[in-house]
């Protein structure tokens, strides 16, 4: 991500430090993860210590300091999905992709995240790939569509 793109996002918030979280969020949306040098640039431009930027980037779980795969798999571990077999689903997806939650596979195709309730409890256990719910599909079928 180049400086101009970062500037564009920071300018949307008039360079105000209090919008640090929104700025990091927009950068991640565009760049898919938060590289160290980008965080350094943000720290300088907003005049917020690098320590503080890192604190925010590591505390909020959605921020990623490592590159994400092309397709982000998200498995809900909320209680509605738990009682409907989320653990089994997670195990199956781990076996199929060979990665654990928080990891990205070696060819950058998939990354796996677990999280909590997306409010789609009627379809549980819920697996999303690229933000889309994979309803009424086996994990193998669903993953095949994204190969």
């Amino acid at each position: 991500m180049d400086n101009a793109a970062i500037d564009h996002i920071i300018n949307k918030y008039q360079g105000q430090a209090r919008f640090l979280i929104q700025i990091l969020m927009e950068i991640q949306e565009e760049n898919r993860w938060l590289p160290r040098e980008v965080l350094k640039t943000v720290s300088e431009k907003l005049d917020v210590s690098f320590r503080q930027v890192m604190r925010i980037a590591t505390m909020y779980k959605t921020f990623s300091l490592v590159p994400k795969g092309h397709n982000e798999i998200h498995i809900c571990m909320g209680n509605a999905c738990h009682v409907r077999g989320a653990e089994r689903l997670l195990k199956e997806v781990q076996e199929l992709t060979g990665i654990k939650p928080g990891e990205t596979d070696s060819d950058g195709k998939f990354s796996l995240e677990i999280g909590c309730c997306r409010g789609n409890c009627c379809s549980g256990p819920v697996m999303e790939i690229g933000g889309k719910t994979q309803d009424k599909m086996s994990p193998a079928e669903a993953l095949k569509n994204y190969e």
Binding site: A17, R18, F19, L20, I21, Q22, M25, R55, I56, M59, Y60, K61, T62, F63, G78, N79, A80, H82, V83, G115, C116, C117, R118, G119, N120, C121, C122, S123, G124, G131, K132, T133, D135, K136
Partner: protein, 559 residues
């Protein structure tokens, strides 16, 4: 569109919108809520295409609406004005619906809802028992409006409450009305909203803030999202009225970053309201200024706690701070900040337009109005219902929920997620009421009701909740960070057959310390579900420890 500059102009605008409408024009309302949209992606364009084939472009409206609430039977399609309701609609059904119903004026029988108990069919949505038996004061308009079009909200009388507040009432009168209605916070505690507003209003600092807590982090709670996504202006109107009563000129919407539809609808709503002069400087020509900013939770549970949420809005890490002084006196940047959840704000417009007297007729003596309940788990229907306080839990589980699937027996119901409480099946007649349920150890919380059948192991469930909380604890204070971790260790041991005599007593002791000493309500209420389960299901814990037996045959190491 031009600004609205007075109460009269608002009414004129509404009549103008209605006069341009043909009440007999067909409108296909497609549910685009979370549950339905995942199952019928692209259905809107298929409808448009199919209508084009029949040369009906422009002659029939197609509307993507918010959640209708009966998620189990979705995707829903309702055809107005006759309100013909189809359930479980797939993309393949679209040509038949257009040919039969839109062109031929015939009902497609196989897509009509059939009551599994009586076998009776219900063609109109409002005749389906699931809808007929609700009191949908907040959710009722969801199928009837396009959340991306402010005109549809105005057509149904939207912003009339704001108009009444601004032009016919003083801020004090608005506050008094909310107090008289005894509106209680729907986010968990049930604290009277009017008192909270008053505290913020009377706080000495001049600059005050109002906040919509749309974090909804409680797993299984999805009613606020359904309401906010489906009818964003309702919440916004409530917020502006609240700001007027409190004397605030800047509001914050704190919401989930992971619901793109919700986000899009909020942003559209803010933009449209501003264009119409319902937000920003000199609202409706009344001289009252109010602006709104949107902030996000970025996937962390504790940021739904009021002080953590306010740190997050300041751009800091979401760690709770001690509340020797309430956030309603000293919140964001030390200014008085009034926080209410989505459902609480959504109740405000109707209280102002219809009056507190009307509102007081709904509900129980101390819990007024309706409550949105999302229910899930071992229940036939998953969905959202809106019922008056006082409705029995039995009515929700068996009436709306359709009972327990696979012929199993009900074991317990659990309210309020990881910080809530369970009630055994024998107490299913308990009415829905803030105080009544708190007394028996099941805080309503945000209103997520989990139904558990006989195969559920309560010890494992307690472990599951504790695991969730140990992962979500921010780690700032020791009682929560360490206490929750130790309780999780003990519970894990018990479920693995390594439980020892004295474990239950130790759990109770740690619970007491964490409950007293933790900094914020995440830690303080962390032991609540466990203590409730120890109260009602102690024999299950004892069977695990003493007999190394899991009565529900769930724990794998104990079989």
């Amino acid at each position: 569109m031009a600004r609205i500059n007075s109460a009269a102009e608002l009414e004129e605008r509404r009549l103008g919108i209605l006069s341009k409408r043909d009440p007999n024009k067909l409108c296909i309302a497609v549910c685009n809520g979370n549950g339905c949209s995942g199952r019928n992606e692209g259905i809107i364009s298929v409808f448009t295409e199919e209508l084009g084939k029949q040369s009906l472009d422009g002659k029939v409206d197609v509307r993507a609406t918010g959640c209708h609430g009966f998620c189990e039977k979705g995707p829903f399609v309702v055809i107005y004005p006759e309100e013909i309701c189809y359930t479980g609609v797939t993309l393949e059904d679209v040509p038949e619906i257009v040919a039969q119903t839109v062109v031929g004026n015939q009902v497609v029988d196989r897509l009509v809802y059939t009551d599994p108990a009586t076998g009776e069919k219900a063609v109109r949505q409002s005749d389906i028992p699931y809808y007929k038996n609700q009191t949908r004061l907040l959710m009722g308009n969801n199928p009837m409006i396009n959340p991306k079009d402010i005109d549809e909200y105005l057509a149904l009388g939207g912003y009339a409450g704001l108009s009444k507040a601004l032009f016919e009432m003083t801020p004090e009168q608005v506050l008094e009305e909310i107090k008289k209605a005894n509106l209680r916070g729907r986010g968990g505690g049930g604290f009277p909203a009017g008192s909270k507003w008053e505290t913020t209003r009377n706080a000495p600092e001049k600059v005050k803030y109002v906040i919509v807590n749309g974090h909804e982090g409680e797993p299984g709670a999805f009613m606020d999202r359904a309401l906010f996504t489906g009818n964003p202006h309702l919440v916004l109107e409530g917020l502006i009225i609240g700001a007027y009563a409190i004397g605030s000129h800047l509001g914050f919407i704190y919401t989930r970053h992971d619901s793109p539809e919700l986000l899009a609808n909020i942003r559209t709503a803010l933009k449209q309201a501003e264009e119409y002069g319902l937000l920003g400087k000199d609202i409706m020509g009344s001289g009252f200024d109010f602006e709104v900013e949107v902030h996000f939770d970025i996937g962390i549970f504790v940021s739904g706690e009021s002080s953590a949420l306010m740190r997050s809005i300041e751009g800091k890490a979401p760690e709770p701070t001690p509340k020797y002084i309430r956030t309603s006196v000293s919140g964001i940047w030390g200014k008085p900040s009034n926080l209410n959840n989505i459902e609480t704000w959504a109740n405000v417009p109707q209280i102002i337009s219809k009056g507190s007297e009307w509102y007081s007729t709904i509900g129980t003596e101390r819990s007024k109005g309706t409550k949105l309940i999302s229910f899930f788990g071992n229940v036939c229907n998953t969905g959202v219902v809106e019922v008056p306080f006082g409705t029995s839990l039995k009515e929700i589980v068996y009436g709306f929920g359709g009972g327990i699937p696979n012929g199993k027996k009900l074991k317990a119901v659990h309210f309020g997620g990881a910080m809530g409480g369970s009630l055994p099946a024998s107490m299913i007649d308990t009415p829905l009421d803030f105080d009544g349920l708190a007394k028996v150890g099941a805080q309503i919380g945000a209103g997520a009701l989990m139904v558990l059948d006989e195969d559920t192991c309560m010890v494992d469930l307690a472990r599951f909740f504790m695991k969730f909380l140990s992962e979500e604890s921010c780690g700032k204070c020791v009682p929560c960070r360490e206490g929750v971790r130790q309780m999780l260790n003990i519970l894990t041991n018990i479920t693995e057959g390594k439980g020892k005599e004295g474990d239950i007593e130790l759990l109770e002791e740690i619970s007491e310390v964490v409950g007293e000493a933790a900094l914020c309500s995440l830690g303080r209420t962390a032991p609540a579900p466990l203590l409730g389960m120890l109260n009602y299901f102690r024999d299950e814990f004892e069977a695990h420890i003493k007999e190394k037996r899991c009565p529900a045959h769930f724990c794998k190491n104990l079989q």
